[in-house]
Symmetry: none
C-alpha cells in the first residue's frame, strides 16, 4: 500500500479539521480507512458526541465497499430505501449512505482508501474530507 | 462522573412516573444511561408490555450517540428513512428515532447522560423524561 | 403475572444491595427479569464499572432460558466449554454462565422470573440475589 | 469529560509509539476510548496488519466494561475460558482478554477512559500504553 501511510493519514485528519475551523463548523470526527476498509486513523474533536466513530466509519466503508463516494449511496437510498437496509445488513452494520464518505485516489485513479467525516451537514462533512485528501496530495472523489 | 449517581437516577425515574400518573398516562418504562451510553437504572411499571426496555434504551442511546434528543432523529427519520436504517445498524440495534430520549445536562451544558421513556405517546413520554430530569435538578434537552 | 410487580422488584434490588453493604462487598449491579426474560428493573451502584448491565442480564437470562440457576450453567461450562459458546450464540449474546443468576419462584415452585447480580465474587453475588428474593417473600433457587 | 480531550489523546498515542520505537518493537496500533467505551482516537503504524483496530479496541473496551485492566480478564480467561466466550457475546464482540488494555485514571483514581495497544507481545503492548498515559500526565492501571 504505497502512499496512504500514517503520515498521510495525519495530514488528512488535520487538514479536514482545519477546513471545518475555517468555515466555523460543528466539532468534527474523521476516519481514514485503507483500501480494504480497515481502520488506519481516527480522531474525534472535543465537543463531538459519543457515537461519531460509527458514523464516520460507516460513511467511509460505504464508499469503499461500492467503489463510489457515499453521496452515490445516498442518492440511491432516496430512490430505493430498501437497498440501504440490505446493504447495511450485508456489511454487518458498517454502511451509512450519507454524503461525507469520500474516496482517496492516486493520480492514476486507483483507490487507495476512503475518508469519512461527520459532525456538520453532510455536504460540509464532504468538503472537509476533500480538503484533507487534497492536502495529502491525493485525489478526492466525493 | 460527578452528579448522575444512583440517588439521582432514582429521583429521575420516580418523578417521571409521578408525571405520568398525574396526567393519567399508560404504564411507563424509564431508563437512565450514563454519558457513554451504559445503563445506570431502569424500571418498568406494572402493566407495561414485555419489550419496553429495548425501546427506552434505544431512545436514550440515540440521543447520546448523536448528542441531540431523539426528537431530532425522529424529524430526520421522517425525511430520510434510510438514515434510521443505517444508524440502527451502526449502533448494533440500539437506536430508536422516536421522541422520548432526552439529554441530561449540567448547568454548563455538559451532557451527563440521557433518559429514555416509553409507554404513552412519544410527546407524553418526553414530558415525563423532562419532569424526571428537572426533579433531579439537572437540565433537560428534549 | 401475579407477584413479581415493580414494588417487589424494588424490594429485591434494595435488599440485595443491603446484603452487599452488610458484608462489605464491592459495588453491585442487580437486574430483575420477568419469566420471559424481559427486563423489569435494574440498578448499578456508584463505583460499579460501565459494563455491568450486560453481565447481570446475561446471568439472569441464562437461569431463565434453561430453567436452572446460572451456577448450573457454570458447572456445565467447566466440563463442556463449547456448550457455553453455543448457548451464548443461540441466545444472541445474553448468556453468562457464572454463578449469580438466581431463579425467583413462588411457593408452588413456579418460576416468576430471575435476578442477576454482579460486582463481587460470583458466590457473593448469588448470596445477594438470594437475600433480595427472600426479602420480597419469594423463594430463591441459586 | 474533563481532561481526556483530543490533545491528550494525541499525546498518549505519540508517546506509546515512541516507547515502541525506543524498545525496537513491531509496528503498533493504539486506540483511546472515553469512559463509556466510545472511540476518541486511533492510529495504526505503517506495517501493522489490517485487523489491528478491532484488537486494540477490544482490549480497551474489556478494561472499561469491567473496570479493570485487560490483564485481569486474561488471567481469568486462563482459568475460565467460557467466561471469555460469554463476555465477548454480551459486549457484542468488543471484548479481547489480552494484556494491553490499560485504564486511564485521574489523580483521584476516577476512570477517565482506556488505552488499547496491539502489535508486539501483550506485555510490551501494555508498557507502551502505560508510557502514553503517563506522558499525558494521567495515571495508568495495567
Amino acid at each position: 500500500m504505497a502512499g496512504l501511510n500514517l503520515a498521510k493519514c495525519r495530514k488528512i485528519v488535520r487538514a479536514a479539521f482545519a477546513k471545518g475551523k475555517e468555515m466555523g463548523m460543528e466539532p468534527l470526527s474523521v476516519v481514514v480507512l485503507d483500501q480494504g476498509g480497515n481502520v488506519l486513523a481516527f480522531e474525534r474533536q472535543d465537543g463531538a458526541s459519543a457515537g461519531r466513530f460509527q458514523i464516520a466509519d460507516g460513511k467511509a466503508n460505504a464508499a469503499l465497499m461500492l467503489g463510489k463516494p457515499s453521496s452515490h449511496a445516498m442518492e440511491r437510498a432516496e430512490r430505493q430505501p430498501y437497498a440501504t437496509d440490505a446493504l447495511n445488513g450485508v456489511y454487518g452494520g458498517r454502511f451509512v449512505p450519507l454524503t461525507g464518505g469520500v474516496l482517496v485516489k492516486d493520480k492514476k485513479g486507483v483507490i487507495m482508501g476512503a475518508v469519512g467525516v461527520t459532525g456538520d451537514t453532510s455536504e460540509n462533512d464532504a468538503l472537509c474530507a476533500v480538503a484533507g485528501i487534497e492536502a495529502a496530495t491525493f485525489f478526492a472523489e466525493a
